[in-house]
C-alpha cells in the first residue's frame, strides 16, 4: 500500500471540484494522514484469493418495463434551482 504521505490534498481537491483554503488544506493533510495510517492495518490481511464486495446483498439486472411514467413537472423540477430563466436551469458559461 502507498504511504500516507502520497496524499496530496490540494491535488485531490482539484479533482473533487472543491476549493480549499490554505488552512483547510494543511489541516486535512494532517488529519487524513492519520486516518490513512490507521487504515494501513488492512495490509496485514492476506487478500489474494478474496473477491471484493461492492454491495452487501448483490442484486442484478433489476429492470422495469420501458414505459413512460408520471414524473416531475417542469415547474416542480425548477422549484429548488438557484437560477432559472424561461423554464430552464441557468448554468455558468461552459464554452469560453
Amino acid at each position: 500500500m502507498s504511504t500516507p504521505s502520497d496524499l496530496d490534498v490540494a491535488y485531490v481537491a482539484r479533482l473533487a471540484r472543491l476549493e480549499l483554503s490554505a488552512e483547510e488544506t494543511a489541516l486535512f493533510q494532517t488529519q487524513l494522514a492519520q486516518v490513512l495510517k490507521h487504515a494501513a492495518r488492512l495490509e496485514e490481511l492476506n487478500l489474494e484469493s478474496v473477491t471484493p464486495a461492492a454491495h452487501a446483498s448483490p442484486t442484478f439486472d433489476v429492470l422495469r418495463a420501458d414505459e413512460p411514467r408520471p414524473g416531475l413537472t417542469p415547474e416542480e423540477a425548477l422549484r429548488n434551482a438557484p437560477r432559472t430563466a424561461h423554464g430552464l436551469f441557468l448554468v455558468s458559461k461552459v464554452i469560453e
Binding site: A16, R17, L18, F28, Q31, Q34, V35, L42, E76, A81
Partner: protein, 481 residues
C-alpha cells in the same frame, strides 16, 4: 393522564387512547407541540416543524389504521413532500422536498403524521451531531454531552418525550449509536429491507432508514409498515415481510445467542462491560443459550468502512453543483470557479474532509490499494457473520464502547470520532440487521446500549430477543428531564 404526559407515551399506548376516543389526534399533536416548545431550549433536536400542516392532517386522521393519528419526527435527510430537507447542510438550506420518500408514503398511508424534521450531522457524516451546520443538539440525560449521531436529533427528541417516535438513517451506526447514548430503541434493518427512495444518499451500499422508538414493540410497528420491495429502489429486497409484532411472542428457551469475544476486548468502558455482562446473565435466566463466537475481522471493519463510505459519499455528493438545487456561488468567473466555490462555500468541514478522502481512495493509482482492498475486507467481514450465524440465532455486544462523551471533546480529532462507530459499522458492511436497546446506566445517569445483531432479513428474531430482554428489565422505562 394529563395532555402534558401524552408525548412521553409509546405508540401502542397512544393507539389505545386514540381508538377509545379519549384523546383526539389534534389534542395529541397540540400536546406534542407544547412539549417540544418546553424542551427545545435544552436539547435543540428539531430543525423545522409545521404545526398547521400537521393539524390539518390530524383533522382527517383515521385512528383505526395501523398508525392512525401518530405523529413521527423525521431525520432531515428523508424527504417529506413540501417540507424542508436540508441534511443540516448550508448547501440545502432552502431546499424543499418535492415528493415523499417511500418510507414516508407508506407511513402516511398507515395513518402516521410526519411532524418535524430533526437535526443531524451534515449529510449524516458524524457520530455526535456536532457536524450540523445549524445547531448543536444536546443529550437530554446530560445537556453537556453529545446525543450521538448522526441521527442525534431523532434520538434526543424521543428520549426527551419531544417525539412519540422518529426515523433516522444508519450508514455506519447512525440509528443505533444515538439510540444507545440517549437510552431509547434504534433499529437498523437489513440492507434492502426498507426502500432508500427519497432518502438523500450518503453511502448507497450501506444506507438504511430505521425507526427510533421508546420500545421494541413500537420499532416493530414502524418496520412493519416501511418494509418491503419498492420499484423505485432497485436494491430493495423482494422478500416476504413477516408479521413482526406476532414475532415478539415466545420465550428465549433454546435460542442461541453469540457473544463475539472481539466486542468485549480492550477499550471498553468498565461500566459498559459490566452492563453487558449483566445482560448476558439476564439472557441466561430467560433460557437463552450463550455461545462464545469469534468474528476475527471485527477490528478491520472500521478501516474498511472509512474507505468505502467516503468513496461512495464523494460520488454521491458530486450532484451538488449549484445548478439544479441548493447553494450557488455568486458571480463565478467560469464553470470551474462556479463548482469550486459553490461547494467550498456551502459544505462544512467534515463533509469536505470525507469528499477529499473518498476522492483520494478512488483516484488513479490508489483505487486498488485502498478501495479495492477495503471491498475485499468487506467480504471477509460478511463471511465472519455468515459463519457465526451457522452456530447462533443472534449476536449480542455493546452498541458503543462508552457512554455519551462531552460536547467538543472529539470534534478536533476525526480519527477518534470515527472510532465511535467501531461496534456498529460491521453490520452495515455485511448488510445484516441490528437493534440497540437500553441495558443499563453508567455513572452520571448516562444510558448504555445493548446491540443485538441478526442475519440479513432476520429482523423478527432480533426483535423477539430484544423484546424478551426489555420486558424482563425496566431500563426502557427510565426517562430524562
Amino acid at each position: 393522564m394529563t395532555p402534558r404526559d401524552l408525548p412521553g407515551l409509546t405508540i401502542v399506548e397512544l393507539q389505545q387512547l386514540l381508538r377509545a376516543r379519549e384523546v383526539s389526534p389534534r389534542e395529541l399533536l397540540q400536546a406534542l407541540h407544547d412539549r417540544i416548545e418546553a424542551v427545545e431550549p435544552t436539547i435543540d433536536a428539531y430543525l423545522s416543524r409545521d404545526l398547521d400542516a400537521a393539524l390539518a392532517e390530524a383533522e382527517t386522521a383515521d385512528v383505526s389504521l395501523p398508525l392512525g393519528g401518530i405523529p413521527l419526527a423525521i431525520k432531515d435527510m428523508i424527504s417529506v413532500a413540501g417540507q424542508p430537507c436540508t441534511c443540516a447542510s448550508r448547501i440545502l438550506r432552502d431546499y424543499r422536498a418535492l415528493l415523499d420518500a417511500t418510507a414516508i408514503s407508506r407511513l402516511k398511508a398507515a395513518g402516521a403524521i410526519p411532524f418535524g424534521k430533526t437535526n443531524m450531522d451534515e449529510f449524516a457524516m458524524g457520530s455526535s451531531t456536532e457536524n450540523s451546520s445549524v445547531k448543536q443538539t444536546r443529550n437530554p440525560w446530560d445537556p453537556t454531552r453529545i446525543p450521538g449521531g448522526s441521527s442525534g436529533g431523532s434520538a434526543a427528541a424521543v428520549a426527551a418525550g419531544a417525539a412519540v417516535a422518529s426515523l433516522g438513517t444508519d450508514t455506519g451506526g447512525s440509528v443505533r449509536q444515538p439510540a444507545a447514548l440517549c437510552g431509547v430503541v434504534g433499529l437498523k434493518p437489513s440492507y434492502g429491507r426498507v426502500s432508500r427512495y427519497g432518502a438523500v444518499a450518503f453511502a448507497s451500499s450501506l444506507d438504511q432508514i430505521g425507526p427510533i422508538t421508546k420500545t421494541v414493540t413500537d420499532a416493530a410497528l414502524l418496520l412493519q409498515v416501511m418494509a418491503g420491495v419498492d420499484p423505485n429502489d432497485s436494491t430493495s429486497l423482494d422478500a416476504a415481510v413477516p408479521d413482526y409484532t406476532a414475532a415478539l411472542q415466545g420465550d428465549l428457551k433454546g435460542v442461541r445467542l453469540g457473544l463475539p469475544r472481539e466486542y468485549l476486548g480492550e477499550g471498553i468502558d468498565p461500566e459498559v462491560r459490566a452492563a453487558i455482562e449483566a445482560a448476558v446473565a439476564q439472557f441466561i435466566s430467560l433460557g437463552a443459550e450463550m455461545i462464545d463466537v469469534s468474528l476475527p475481522h471485527t477490528s478491520y471493519a472500521i478501516d474498511s468502512y472509512y474507505i468505502i463510505a467516503p468513496a461512495e459519499a464523494s460520488a454521491n455528493l458530486a450532484r451538488f453543483d449549484g445548478v439544479r438545487y441548493g447553494h450557488r456561488a455568486e458571480n463565478p468567473l467560469n464553470l470551474l470557479d462556479h463548482y469550486n466555490r459553490t461547494r467550498a462555500e456551502a459544505f462544512g468541514p467534515e463533509v469536505k474532509r470525507r469528499i477529499i478522502l473518498g476522492t483520494y481512495v478512488l483516484s488513479s493509482g490508489y483505487h486498488d490499494a485502498y478501495y479495492l482492498r477495503a471491498q475485499k475486507v468487506r467480504t471477509l467481514i460478511r463471511q465472519d457473520f455468515e459463519r457465526a450465524f451457522e452456530k447462533v440465532d443472534a449476536l449480542i455486544s455493546p452498541t458503543t464502547p462508552e457512554p455519551a462523551f462531552k460536547l467538543g471533546e472529539r470534534s478536533a480529532d476525526p480519527l477518534r470520532m470515527y472510532l465511535a462507530d467501531v461496534f456498529t459499522s460491521a453490520a452495515n458492511l455485511a448488510g445484516i440487521c441490528g437493534i440497540s436497546i437500553p441495558c443499563g446506566m453508567a455513572s452520571g445517569n448516562l444510558p448504555i446500549g445493548l446491540q443485538i445483531l441478526g442475519q440479513s432479513l432476520g429482523e423478527a428474531r432480533i426483535l423477539q430477543v430484544a423484546h424478551a430482554f426489555e420486558q424482563s428489565t425496566d431500563w426502557h422505562k427510565r426517562r430524562p428531564l
